[in-house]
């Protein structure tokens, strides 16, 4: 294997490097343009368009964001809170349900498993779901509107964790604990949870990113600006370019004609993706693992 590598192999590797470099650039350059655009001087941006290397640097967009931190910081706080609560809550509920489903000697578990899997096959669609959450559970303009619909607990996650538990935690271990007189809650917290750390990390990370990135729940259930998440704020700015100026004047009465709107919107997008950009390289292996895990039982 480690002998002389043929020139043919070297050529294949060379071509592969070229393909991967092109793709890596394609993946990365848009982010570079976004960041460069946010650091461009406003009038230059209007005159010359966004450039990979701005001909005139300016951090005005960011100083505007700091001025408006009351609004943007609040949206950031909402996103952080929802991500935190959503991730912790959903992981706990998914873990409990998944462990319960591995206990096949409990009557009715087979039926329950089927009922959960069936939700992956058929759904009532957006309209009835919207009406249930909006008119029946009254989540409109509450934090539950961001936490619950669609994201909280997916059958797919339950199936994934269930198969992890049944193939990685020996049932003899659980039986031994039962014989020792441990109750189910004790077994769950003292045996199942500690032994499921890898899958908890994977599921937690995937759900955390899903919560951080979610904007559809805000679109349906939130129209109170106080509960806007950072993604929804970006969406509002997208739909309504005047959004920044109309809100700024109502908040602080500053001169709205000078808002560097072409660069500020890019700067807000940069602020929104910053945590993911910074943390992602450290968590990359968990993501890859999560993807391959999902493929095993899709």
């Amino acid at each position: 294997m480690n002998g002389i590598r043929s020139s043919e192999e070297k050529m294949y590797e060379f071509i592969s490097h070229i393909i991967m470099i092109i793709l890596s650039l394609c993946a990365f350059l848009p982010f570079w343009l976004l960041i460069a655009a946010s650091f461009t001087e406003e009038h230059t941006a209007v005159r010359e368009g966004y450039k990979f290397i701005p001909s005139q640097f300016s951090a005005a967009a960011y100083s505007y964001i700091f001025q408006q931190w009351a609004q943007i910081g609040r949206a950031y706080g909402v996103t952080l809170l929802v991500t935190l609560l959503g991730t912790v809550g959903s992981v706990l509920v998914i873990m409990m349900a998944s462990y319960a489903l591995t206990q096949k000697d409990v009557p009715g578990i087979g039926v329950v498993s089927f009922l959960i899997i069936f939700t992956m096959l058929f759904n009532g669609g957006i309209v009835p779901t919207y009406l249930v959450y909006n008119n029946f559970l009254h989540v409109k303009n509450t934090i539950f509107g961001l936490l619950l619909p669609g994201l909280f607990c997916s059958a797919f996650n339950v199936v994934l964790v269930r198969s992890y538990i049944s193939s990685n935690i020996p049932s003899a271990l659980i039986e031994a604990a039962e014989i020792d007189g441990a109750g189910q809650f004790r077994i769950f917290s003292k045996v199942i949870m500690p032994l499921s750390k890898p899958i908890i990390a994977t599921i937690g990370l995937l759900n955390g990113v899903a919560y951080w990135n979610d904007w559809t729940n805000g679109l349906y259930y939130i129209n109170d600006a106080k509960l806007y998440s950072i993604q929804q704020l970006l969406n509002e700015i997208n739909n309504n370019i005047q959004y920044l100026s109309s809100n700024a004047s109502s908040i602080s009465g500053i001169d709205t004609s000078n808002i560097p709107s072409n660069t500020v919107r890019m700067a807000i997008a940069v602020v929104a993706i910053l945590p993911i950009l910074c943390l992602y390289p450290f968590f990359q292996k968990y993501f890859s693992k999560g993807i391959t895990l999902g493929a095993v039982k899709g």
Partner: protein, 315 residues
């Protein structure tokens, strides 16, 4: 009260009540969630057959038979959104299968561990972005006034006229295909790559001893080993043929009405008719149509998977 008998003889399977209650307590939050998030809305599909009057409420609103469907199908919208949804799915399936396989094979050729990790990290990055952020990235390139293409690329080719991308339909099939692949290639590539690194090296060694060149090794070992994964993923995506990525079709074209004819899919249509036009009848009819055809497609797809490789079937 019954537990004392349980230990005596394993005659009949005995229900351990204490354990049963505990297990169902653990299940309770998830079951409650599925009840509200999935099951109650399933019964809500009857809305498609009603003329909703908010004053009367959903249950008391009068039935209207297939009236909502008549509107949907006679308006021409049904045809347009079905065509768009299905054609984009076909396009994404074909390109989204071939392209990641090529990339996964290329990645596998790279011996330098550090380079390989770096490429993977970079290529997976777009997958982690929300569609809102993606729409900003796309806008940075396509924007009419400040976009990179209009200001830097077109002038370089001597084109002075600015293209208003968000108002012209003809560009969007390419743009949406590109964005879709840009965002998902990392994910799909890792799926195939993890399959490729699982192939036993002995096959390749044997092939080399027999004098097979690199191309022969790829076409005769690598690709055949990927076949089960390819088939399963293909069939599953056929099962999802009536669903589209709402974010891609809503955010990236900025929900611009001028280009609806090539960007509107069933999902964005349901949203727009419900939230912007407040036309709950037509919206729920379209939703029902999607759920029903989607369900039939998933069942068919699963039946086919079961025939070909039973391990990959969902149920």
């Amino acid at each position: 009260m019954a537990s004392s008998k349980a230990a005596s003889k394993p005659k009949k399977k005995h229900i351990q009540w204490k354990k049963t209650i505990a297990i169902y307590t653990l299940l309770a939050p998830a079951l409650l969630y599925f009840l509200f998030n999935n099951y109650i809305p399933m019964f809500g599909i009857v809305i498609a057959f009603k003329r909703i009057n908010y004053r009367l409420g959903i249950f008391k609103s009068p039935w209207c038979g297939l009236e909502n469907f008549k509107f949907l199908f006679s308006s021409g919208n049904a045809w347009m959104i079905t065509r768009n949804t299905v054609l984009y799915n076909l396009l994404f399936i074909v390109v989204g299968t071939l392209f990641p396989i090529v990339v996964a094979i290329a990645l596998n050729e790279i011996r330098n561990k550090f380079a390989s990790k770096t490429y993977q990290t970079l290529i997976l990055l777009p997958y982690l972005m929300s569609m809102v952020v993606v729409s900003y990235l796309v806008y940075a390139f396509l924007g009419g006034e400040t976009g990179y293409i209009n200001n830097s690329i077109l002038p370089a080719f001597g084109v002075e006229k600015k293209i208003q991308f968000y108002q012209e339909s003809k560009y969007w099939p390419f743009i949406l295909l590109f964005v879709n692949q840009w965002k998902s290639i990392g994910f799909n590539m890792i799926l195939y790559y993890s399959n490729i690194i699982g192939i036993s090296p002995e096959y390749y060694e044997a092939a080399r001893i027999d004098g097979a060149n690199k191309w022969q090794q790829i076409t005769n070992i690598t690709i055949p080993s990927l076949k089960p994964t390819i088939i399963t993923l293909l069939i599953l995506s056929v099962g999802r043929m009536f669903y589209s990525d709402f974010g891609l079709f809503y955010q990236v074209p900025k929900n611009s009405g001028l280009i609806y004819n090539v960007t509107q899919t069933i999902d964005t249509f349901v949203y727009n008719t419900l939230m912007n036009q407040n036309n709950i009848g037509m919206s729920s009819a379209a939703g029902f149509y999607q759920s029903l055809v989607g369900f039939v497609l998933v069942l068919t797809a699963n039946a086919v998977v079961k025939k070909i490789s039973p391990d990959d079937a969902m149920f």
